[in-house]
C-alpha cells in the first residue's frame, strides 16, 4: 500500500509570501503529525490531529503557522508571510490511532527555502 506522501517535494519562495504544504497520510490512519527539521532547531513537533478531536497546536512557533485536516485525511500546513527562519524540511507522519503502541510512518518531507 501507499505510504505517507507529501507535496511539493521542494518549495522556494520569497520572504513575505504564503505557502501551503500538503500531506496525504496512510489510508485509515486517524492520527497525523507535522514536524519541522531545521539546522538550528533539529526536529521539532508542530501540530497533531487525532480523528475529529481539536488539534494539538502546542508546537506551532507563531500565529503565522496554521494547519487543517479535511475529512480526517489530507492535511495542509500553511505558513503566512514567510520568513527566512522558516526555511526547513517539513515532515508529516501518520499512525493508526495515535496510541503509543502505534508506529508513526513518515513522509519524505517538503524542503522549504525562503529567500
Amino acid at each position: 500500500g501507499a505510504g505517507v506522501s507529501q507535496s511539493p517535494s521542494n518549495k522556494v519562495t520569497e520572504k513575505g509570501k504564503d505557502v501551503e504544504l500538503r500531506c496525504d497520510p496512510i489510508s485509515g490512519h486517524t492520527a497525523l503529525y507535522w514536524y519541522r527539521q531545521s539546522l538550528g532547531q533539529g526536529l521539532e513537533f508542530l501540530i497533531y490531529f487525532q480523528g475529529n478531536s481539536a488539534p494539538d497546536k502546542s508546537g506551532l512557533p507563531s500565529d503565522r503557522f496554521s494547519a487543517e485536516r479535511t475529512g480526517g485525511s489530507v492535511s495542509t500546513l500553511t505558513i503566512q508571510r514567510t520568513q527566512q527562519e522558516d526555511s526547513a524540511v517539513y515532515l508529516c507522519a501518520s499512525s493508526l490511532s495515535g496510541q503509543g503502541t502505534d508506529t508513526q510512518y513518515f513522509g519524505p518531507g517538503t524542503r522549504l527555502t525562503v529567500l
Partner: protein
C-alpha cells in the same frame, strides 16, 4: 517537558563491525515509549526499533538491539555486522502515552559505515 540527548554528533564504523549509539532522556512520565529512527539522504524517516518503558526486556530487531536502562534514563542502539546501507542519520525519540504520542527527538548522530 521531555528532553532527549544524543552526545555523539558523528560516528564511523568499519563494515561488518559493531557500533553503539548513545541516547539519554529526561522525563517525569511513567508511561512512555522510546524509538530509534534512521534518516538516510532520501530524508525518509524509518523506524528502526522501539521499546516500551514498562518492558524490562531489551528490544531486538535483526542486527539492531537496544540497551534500555530505565533508572539511568539511557537508551542506546547497537548495530551489529554494520552494512554500507546503515549509513544515515540516527535519531533517538521519546513519546509519552498521555501526551498524544508526539515524538521528541534528540539532535541525531550521523553514522558512516566504511568499506
Amino acid at each position: 517537558a521531555q528532553t532527549v540527548t544524543q552526545s555523539q554528533p558523528e560516528m564511523s564504523v568499519q563494515e561488518a563491525e559493531t557500533v553503539t549509539l548513545s541516547c539519554t532522556y529526561d522525563t517525569s512520565e511513567n508511561n512512555y515509549y522510546l524509538f530509534w529512527y534512521k534518516q538516510p539522504p532520501s530524508r525518509q524517516m524509518i523506524l528502526v526499533i522501539r521499546q516500551e518503558a514498562y518492558k524490562q526486556q531489551n528490544a531486538t530487531e535483526n542486527r539492531f538491539s537496544v540497551n534500555f536502562q530505565k533508572a539511568a534514563k539511557s537508551f542506546s542502539l547497537k548495530i551489529s555486522d554494520s552494512q554500507l546501507g546503515d549509513t544515515a542519520m540516527y535519531f533517538c525519540a521519546f513519546a509519552a502515552e498521555n501526551a498524544g504520542n508526539m515524538l521528541t527527538f534528540g539532535g541525531g548522530t550521523r553514522l558512516m559505515v566504511k568499506p
